[in-house]
């Protein structure tokens, strides 16, 4: 009887996650979803370009009470309106919930789960791919908007706020992505739940006085924003008035906690759940 050949040892959890990451990154970058992502993040760049062109023709593009608004203030408003209230949560929902759901829908999850890597590593690897993919699309868009709107003479005054914006957007993507990666791994209809959370629960909780806002991601992300909240509607005015910003260290700790707990729960859910593919 011949001796059984020595099989290579299965990769560790992190090695497995890195392999899934490198496989998923390419797939994610060239998917239809990323075309949508590029269109969405291209919108503020387009608006900034138009404002810049208007400004360079000698016309003040934005005035409030006949007072010209400077580029840095317009940039601050765009961070709120485009990125914080829309792009970051929407990307978190669409990408986060689809990390596992897409594999189930395409019936390719079996191929991943038959590999000698832990199921949890699949989720973590895909989450890392999501993070790299979205940050490398969103953050360059913010950089372009900043340099289109803010004149170089104002960069020294506004750079720290700009760097803080980049950091908080990356943290926001990580937190929303982590939360919805767990939702996608644990629930059957994750997209609906995600949209209800972002456009229902968070909007209501931020308007209600009291402690409910602590159970939202937006509360901690908005607590880090160095720009004044634009008063562009009744809800925004109420939010601004009822806003009770937690300290920056608490916001960062809370967002890091959301990422860690969500990923841990997501890993547990993927490893314990039995995925039944539709015939």
């Amino acid at each position: 009887m011949s001796a059984r050949p020595n099989l290579p040892a299965p990769p560790t959890f992190w090695n497995g996650a890195v392999r899934v990451f490198s496989l998923s990154l390419g797939e994610m970058l060239w998917s239809r979803r990323t075309v949508f992502l590029m269109l969405v993040t291209g919108m503020p760049v387009f608006v900034a370009l138009v404002l810049r062109l208007v400004q360079s023709s000698g016309i003040t593009p934005v005035r409030v009470n006949s007072t010209p608004v400077d580029g840095a203030s317009i940039f601050g408003g765009m961070i709120w309106i485009f990125f914080l209230r829309f792009i970051v949560p929407v990307l978190g929902v669409f990408y986060g919930t689809s990390l596992m759901a897409d594999e189930v829908e395409d019936r390719t999850i079996t191929y991943l789960f038959t590999r000698p890597i832990r199921r949890g590593a699949v989720l973590v690897g895909k989450y890392l791919a999501f993070l790299v993919c979205t940050t490398l699309v969103v953050l360059p868009s913010v950089v372009l908007v900043y340099f289109l709107l803010v004149p170089l003479s104002q960069v020294a005054r506004t750079f720290v706020a700009f760097a803080a914006d980049l950091g908080l957007l990356a943290l926001g993507l990580a937190a929303y992505g982590g939360l919805f990666a767990f939702v996608g791994a644990a629930l059957k209809r994750p997209l609906v739940s995600g949209l209800v959370f972002v456009f229902g629960w968070e909007q209501v909780a931020l308007l209600v006085p009291g402690y409910l806002k602590r159970f939202t991601v937006a509360h901690y992300v908005q607590g880090l924003v160095p720009h004044a909240m634009p008063s562009d509607g009744v809800a925004a005015v109420l939010q601004a008035v009822l806003r009770n910003n937690p300290p920056a260290w608490l916001c960062i700790a809370a967002l890091a906690g959301i990422v860690a707990v969500s990923l841990w729960l997501g890993v547990k859910a993927v490893e314990s759940r039995e995925y039944v593919l539709d015939q």
Partner: protein, 349 residues
């Protein structure tokens, strides 16, 4: 990883790195003008204020003067500009154009009978004619001295009252107030005395309040002492530590008052009292649509040790209230017509 993926990562990362690098170089050359924003704890001039301040107030004069509300109020009730014109003539400072913002603090014992013990201090950022101001102080009998390299103009109140001082602490920044307070401000900013940024409680409250273009943070005992509340009223009020008032004035007015009680029970007690008062006020003003709109905008909130009250007055309500003050409305209504004479009683046969 495929070649297009690598190319994408390279281009995206390149834009990000180029942006951050350019910003970093520009900020380094510009001296990191807003590094204090990392702490995001209000105006950078806070380092001039005393660490034991009981009241800190801020007004963004530029925004307030440019606000739609101010324009409307000015059109409605044109002020007698003689005082401001005289001030401008003497100092060269046009308050409506040359002052950007003002920060004020009262340190020390604010309940003291004399203002010297309260140590008031005002810091103003703007464009000032130093030579003209110095000339004015000298013409009024004031003196000039050098304090640690800063020009300090001093003047005494007539009758030997408080000794006032004014210092040009930075280009475009003046500190004025009680002599001791101005000297302490210079020391505090240079780190040779404690300043407000070292007071964690106050810094936190100022950071919370600094969203508005007008705000006040005050210790409640300082406010009640300054307001000379009757002993009976002061005793019945819940135990409060700090009170914060934040206002944002532009088209309309948004304001929020936050009180920080000593414990959860005191805060709950205050919330209940305010809720009752609000309900009563809403009942009283139910028929007045103009006031009812303001009452409806009032939101009571807060949790734990805080109680907050938010209020929003849209510009339409301000317009409506203003229309009530127009001369047409103030003229007395026309006399009612004489009542018809009562018929003669029938004659008794």
């Amino acid at each position: 990883m495929t070649k297009p993926t690598r190319l994408f990562l390279f281009v995206s990362g390149g834009i990000l790195a180029a942006g951050l690098g350019t910003g970093l170089v520009a900020a380094y050359v510009g001296g990191f003008q807003n590094l204090s924003l990392l702490a995001a704890s209000g105006p950078e001039e806070l380092s001039y204020l005393p660490s034991d301040a009981k009241v800190v107030a801020y007004a963004n004069v530029r925004e307030l003067m440019d606000s739609e509300l101010h324009q409307k109020l000015q059109a409605l009730t044109p002020r007698n500009g003689n005082g401001l014109a005289r001030f401008q003539e003497e100092t060269g400072v046009d308050v409506s154009k040359d002052v950007d913002y003002v920060l004020a603090a009262i340190g020390g014992d604010v309940s003291a009978a004399t203002p010297e013990q309260g140590r008031p201090l005002v810091i103003a950022r703007g464009r000032f004619d130093n030579v003209r101001i110095e000339g004015l102080v000298r013409s009024k009998g004031g003196t000039v001295e050098d304090f640690k390299g800063v020009r300090l103009l001093k003047a005494s109140e007539p009758g030997g009252g408080m000794e006032m001082a004014l210092a040009f602490v930075e280009p475009g920044l003046i500190a004025m107030g009680n002599d001791a307070a101005v000297r302490q401000a210079i020391d505090g900013h240079r780190g040779s005395a404690a300043n407000l940024t070292g007071n964690a409680d106050l810094t936190r409250l100022v950071k919370d309040a600094s969203d508005g273009n007008l705000w006040v943070v005050a210790r409640f005992d300082a406010l009640s002492a300054a307001g000379n509340l009757p002993a009976g009223v002061a005793e019945r009020l819940p135990a409060l530590n700090w009170v914060t008032l934040t206002g944002h004035i532009n088209g309309g007015i948004r304001a929020a008052v936050k009180a920080e009680a000593r414990d959860d029970a005191a805060a709950k007690n205050l919330r209940d009292v305010v809720q009752g008062m609000l309900a009563l006020a809403k009942l009283q003003t139910g028929q007045r649509t103009d006031i009812a709109a303001i009452m409806d905008s009032i939101e009571l909130g807060g949790d734990g040790k805080t109680v907050s009250l938010a209020l929003s007055i849209p510009i339409e309500v301000v317009d409506h209230l203003a229309s009530l003050r127009t001369p047409g409305r103030l003229t007395p209504p026309p006399d009612a017509p004489e009542p018809p004479q009562a018929p003669e009683p029938p004659a008794v046969p």
